[in-house]
Every structure is written in C-alpha cells, then in structure tokens.
C-alpha cells in the first residue's frame, strides 16, 4: 500500500513537471508569434520613428487588461499594444539585435516576459535597433497548470483507490484456495480425511501433492518399522518355542533357571519389542469405531472360553471413536477382556466413553469388570509397577496387564484397578485426547 502511494506520487510529480515545462515552451512559442505579428504591423521611417497599425485580428492585443501586452521600444520612442491601456507594466529593457530571452516571473513579478532584439534595416543602409517585449500575466499559466494539476491528482487518487480495491480483491481471491488448504489440513489432522483432496488451483497442486506424499511416506515408514520389529519378534519366538518344548515340566534346578530365563525373554518380547512396533502412534490416524471392534473381541472370547458360558454386557456411549491405531485398541480391549473372561465366573461388563469431548480428537475411557475373585491391593501395585521383571510379576493377570500398561503409557494415559460392584476386579483405562 505505501509503495503504491509512493509510486503514484512520483508519477504525479513527473507528469506535473513535464506538463509545466510543456506549458512554458508552448507559451514561449506563442509569445514569439506575437513578436512577429507586431513586427508585421510596424512601419519605421528613416529617422527611426515608428508606428504600429493597431488593427490586429487577435482581440487579446486590443482588449485592455486582457493579460497579453506587447511593448516595442527603440530610439524613436515606445509603443504599447492597446490592451496595455491603463496597465502598469515594468519598464522595457533593451536587448541586442538577434537575441531573445524568456523570463519567468521574478520574485514579486506578475509577468512572463519574452524579449526579442531586432535591427531594422533602413533603405538607405542604416540599422535601427528595437526591442519587442511580450508580457503575459502569470495568472493565465498558473490557472492552466493548476487546473491540470488538480485534474491529474484527482485521476491519480481515483486510480489509487481502484488499484487498492483490486489489490484487496486479488489478495482475497488468491488466498481463498490457501484457506481451503488450511481447512483440509485441519481435516487430515483431526482424522476426518486421510489425504488432501484433488482440485486445487494449478499453483497449489504441487503443494498438495507434496503434503500427500509426506503423509504417505510417514505411513509407509511407520509400516516398515513396525514390520521390521514384528518380524524380529516373530523370528525370536519360534526358537524360544523350540527351547520351551524341550524343557520338561518338572525339571531340576538347571531347568528351572532356564525356564525363568525363557519366561523373562518372553515377557520382554511381548511387552517391549512388540509394543515398540505398536506404540509408534500416528497423530493422523483415522478414527476407529470402538463398538465394532469390541464386539469382535467379545465374539472371539466367547469362542475361546465357550465352556464357561460368560454373559458379557457392552455399554458404550453411542458412536464412540478411538483416535489411534486399530491394533492398539484391539490389543487393549483384548487383554482386558481376556482377563475378565478368564477370571470372571458368569458375568463380564464393559463400559466406555469419551475422555475430553470438547477436543477435536478426544481420548476414550474403557472399564472392564468381572464377577471373579478380584485382585488384592498389594497385587494391583505389583502389576502396575513399572520395571518389574517378568518372573517377579504375579502370575495370571500378569502379561496381559503388563502389555496394557505399556500401551497406555505410550498414549500418555493411566490404568487403575479397583474392586467392582460385581464382586471381581474392575480395570479402567483412560487415554487422553491426542
């Protein structure tokens, strides 16, 4: 904006000064032409006396006070144009023959003056010098250039206003697609879209393409890392199974310590290595419908624990969504529910809801209860205490809860174990918004 004002100002100054110079040179030409008009009407006698026939066609020379005055001065006297009647003119100043001068009004002076010195050739050979002065009142030119300047600045101001409006409009039009990008990125961020849509203006297409490529790279990197860690975990487990299958159930001291070492390895692989692949949580993961996946788990557990005839009640807030990895949700719910089915005698209840509903990607809470024997407080602490070695953990709930704890830690949430009103254990998991 200031640049625009400055540029328009400079243009104004340049145009107005060019106009001023043009007006002056036009004036000079015009004044010169009056010199010739007057010379043409002049008669000089050999004595040097002269007269001018005042029958000019131009009324400006005739009408008194018209602003245009001509003086002729020489040795034979002085002549003034009829327009100079009653006008106070500066005294004439002689100029040598063949010389002309053009003067702008001096300080305090009112007239532009053009003087032209001539030598009048007499028939008998003498030369009589004259000076013809044309005076034009400065007001005329000032009015002319003033009117021009006024018009000029008005036009420039109008142009400025139009340019500013055009600029505002352009900025608005140009920025509109950028605002769309902003909204689309926000949609991706909140998990409502997986990638930026098509159909941006050509200038923005490369940006959208690059963002999409970045998203895909991130996804595939994640998959690659997970894949590598998974296959490492898997390839460790089969040799471990071979070792395990070779160990007798009731062996001696050596076998027992091998068994302990194997148990610890198993624990580390399950809680650390496998979770390292899973807990690299994607901030942009699409939301996972909680109910659907819990139902899958419950159905699977009914199959595995079919001899127990457990009744499972599912109470979830409608349309509950998990903003994280599907496999993390299955892992959490699978381990919690598996324990409940294992230890419950007839009934298991699952409830869940939103944690931080005001957020774009809220967290969830899940509570799994059973009517089994429950867990004494000292066991709960041991189960949730970090850094406890596998063989020091309480058998039974152990590994499943350890995996839950690792996962919940990765999400920055918390696990609490309490007594359920149903008689058994109640394990509650709270995951914060992402």
């Amino acid at each position: 904006m200031p640049v625009l004002v400055l540029a328009l100002g400079l243009v104004g100054l340049a145009v107005s000064s060019a106009n001023h110079r043009g007006a002056l040179s036009a004036l000079e030409l015009r004044m010169q032409s009056y010199v010739y008009t007057v010379l043409a009407a002049m008669e000089v006698d050999p004595s040097g006396a002269f007269e001018v026939a005042s029958d000019f066609a131009d009324p400006l020379l005739l009408q008194p006070g018209s602003g245009l005055y001509v003086q002729v001065s020489g040795s034979g006297g002085e002549w003034r144009s009829p327009s100079a009647l009653g006008v106070d003119l500066p005294a004439p100043r002689p100029v040598s023959a063949g010389i002309s001068e053009f003067l702008e009004p001096a300080a305090g002076g009112a007239y532009f003056i053009y003087r032209y010195g001539i030598g009048w050739q007499q028939e008998e050979g003498g030369i009589t010098p004259f000076t013809v002065s044309v005076l034009v009142h400065g007001d005329e030119i000032r009015q002319q250039t003033g009117a021009f300047r006024k018009g000029l600045w008005q036009s420039l101001a109008l142009a400025g206003v139009i340019l500013v409006l055009a600029q505002v409009l352009t900025v608005f039009v140009v920025l509109r697609p950028l605002r769309r990008v902003e909204q689309d990125v926000a949609r991706v961020e909140s998990g409502r879209a997986e990638r930026l849509p098509e159909g941006y203006p050509p200038e923005l297409e490369p940006l959208a393409r690059n963002v999409n490529r970045l998203l895909e790279t991130e996804k595939s990197n994640q998959q690659r890392i997970r894949h590598a860690l998974d296959s490492l975990a898997h390839s460790l487990k089969t040799p471990m199974a071979v070792l395990q299958a070779g160990l007798p159930l009731h062996g001696g001291k050596a076998e027992r310590s091998m068994q302990n070492a194997l148990d610890e390895m198993q624990h580390l692989v399950a809680t650390r290595l496998e979770r390292a692949g899973g807990s690299a949580r994607r901030t942009l993961a699409a939301p996972v419908p909680v109910k659907h996946h819990l139902e899958r788990i419950v159905e699977s557990l009914h199959k595995v624990h079919s001899h127990k005839m457990i009744g499972c009640e599912l109470k979830l807030e409608p349309d509950l969504q998990f903003f994280g990895e599907e496999r993390d949700l299955l892992e959490l719910a699978g381990n919690l529910l598996d324990n409940a089915f294992k230890y419950g005698s007839e009934n298991v209840a699952v409830s869940g809801g939103v944690n931080g509903a005001d957020r774009a990607r809220p967290g969830i809470w899940l509570r799994v209860e059973d009517d089994g024997p429950g867990m004494p407080p000292e066991r709960r602490d041991a189960l949730l205490q970090r850094g406890v070695r596998g063989d020091e953990r309480v058998e039974g709930h152990g590994l499943g809860l350890a995996i839950v704890q690792e996962l919940v830690d990765a999400y920055g949430g918390e696990v609490t174990i309490e007594n359920s009103a149903m008689g058994g254990a109640a394990v509650e998991v709270r995951l914060p918004p992402s």
Partner: protein
C-alpha cells in the same frame, strides 16, 4: 485321537511332535500350507494345530478353506503373532483357540484336550462311563478310587469310543484315528486292543462294556455322562 500339525519350523515339529506322540496322539505333519490343506481335507483328522506364517498358503487361508469345505474338527492356532488383531482374525477365520509361541507344552496339551472334549460335547475333562471315570486330561481310567492300568493304545481306543458315544465305530475308523497316515496299519490289531480293554474293564464278564456289531464295528454299551 489323530492330530494334524501344520508348522514349518522343523525343530519345533521335531520337539513338539515327540511330546504329542508321547502323549498318545497319532500325528500327521505338514510343513507348508498347501500340503496342510490337503491333509486337513483328506485325512480323518480330529484336531488341527495350525501355524499362521506358513509357506505356500498362509495359515488363515488354510483355516478359511477347511471351514468352507465343511471340515469342522477343532483348530488351534499356534503362532508367534501374539497381537489381538491376529488372534481375532484367526478366530474369525474359523479357528477355535489360539496359543502363542513360546508356549508351555503342558498348556498346549491342556488346550488340545479341552478342544477335543468340547468337540464331543463334554464340558469337563472327567467323563463317567457306567461305573468308571475317564479322566481325559490325566489320561486315566478309574473305578471308584482304583486306577485301571491301560497301555497307550488301549487308552487311545477307549478315549475315541468315549468321545463318540452312541455311535458305531468301525475298525478302520479306529485305526485311522489312532495311527498316523503313513503307519503300517493292521486292523486286526484293533481287535486285539478291544479284547484287552474288555478284559480290563470287565474281568468277570458281567458288564459287556463294548458291543461288537458284526460286520459293522463297535459301540460303547455303557452310559457316558460328563
């Protein structure tokens, strides 16, 4: 009982196979998915143990196809993939239970036992057979507090009959489920086992626990309840 083990790790097949045979199961082994699928379709299998990461055809697909083709014996997944996503997918494909590597062999035996029992409709491992009690998990036969000693093959024949009550079981069926596919079978041997079982169950000849239906096979004549 005849078990099909589909597992590609030969060391595991070796050590696990030894333990399963030791426990009295007839065992068929396939080390890839395609062969395993064929064995599952063609052999009289009572239970299959399937690894998920198999060459040829993956375990999930083997299970899916076996179920599509109407094979309804229990299937236990044995895999290194311990995630619940894999467990749920495996169970949804038609498996009945899931055990992750590494595992205690005793745990596997207990699962196999439970699956076989459930497949024949028994909820508990103790099954009463007239005045006897058959303990499927301990593989013992009791009358009151007294254990009746049985050899491995005698027990296997009795177990098969107990898990198929009210059914006429042919000699060849018995030999198929007791011997492995490539074993040198002689169905006359079954007759010998049945004779020994009858003498052990009914030394004074008053119970007639196993009926012979001439030209058809054998049937348990005692009431089986769990």
């Amino acid at each position: 009982m005849r078990i099909l083990l589909i597992e590609d790790d030969e060391r595991l097949v070796e050590s696990l196979g030894a333990r399963l045979r030791e426990a009295g199961y007839a065992l068929d082994v396939s080390t890839d998915g395609i062969e395993g699928l064929y064995a599952g379709e063609e052999f009289p299998v009572d239970l299959a143990i399937v690894d998920l990461g198999l060459p040829g055809l993956n375990g999930l697909e083997v299970i899916r196809r076996l179920r599509q083709r109407g094979r309804d014996f229990p299937i236990l997944i044995l895999t290194a993939r311990s995630g619940w996503q894999d467990k749920v997918e495996g169970l949804e494909a038609g498996a009945d239970d899931y055990l992750t590597k590494p595992f205690q062999v005793e745990e596997l035996m207990a699962r196999i036992n439970a699956l076989l029992r459930r497949a024949s409709g028994h909820a508990r491992p103790q099954i009463s057979l007239g005045p006897f009690l058959v303990d499927l998990s301990a593989q013992r036969l009791l009358r009151g507090d007294t254990e009746i000693e049985l050899t491995g093959y005698e027990y296997k024949v009795l177990e098969y009959l107990v898990l198929h009550p009210d059914t006429v079981v042919t000699r060849s069926e018995l030999s198929e489920h007791i011997y492995e596919e490539d074993a040198d079978r002689d169905s006359n041997v079954i007759e010998v086992f049945i004779g020994r079982l009858r003498r052990k169950l009914d030394p004074d000849g008053s119970l007639n626990p196993i009926e012979t239906l001439r030209g058809r096979g054998y049937r348990l004549a005692l009431a089986v309840t769990s």
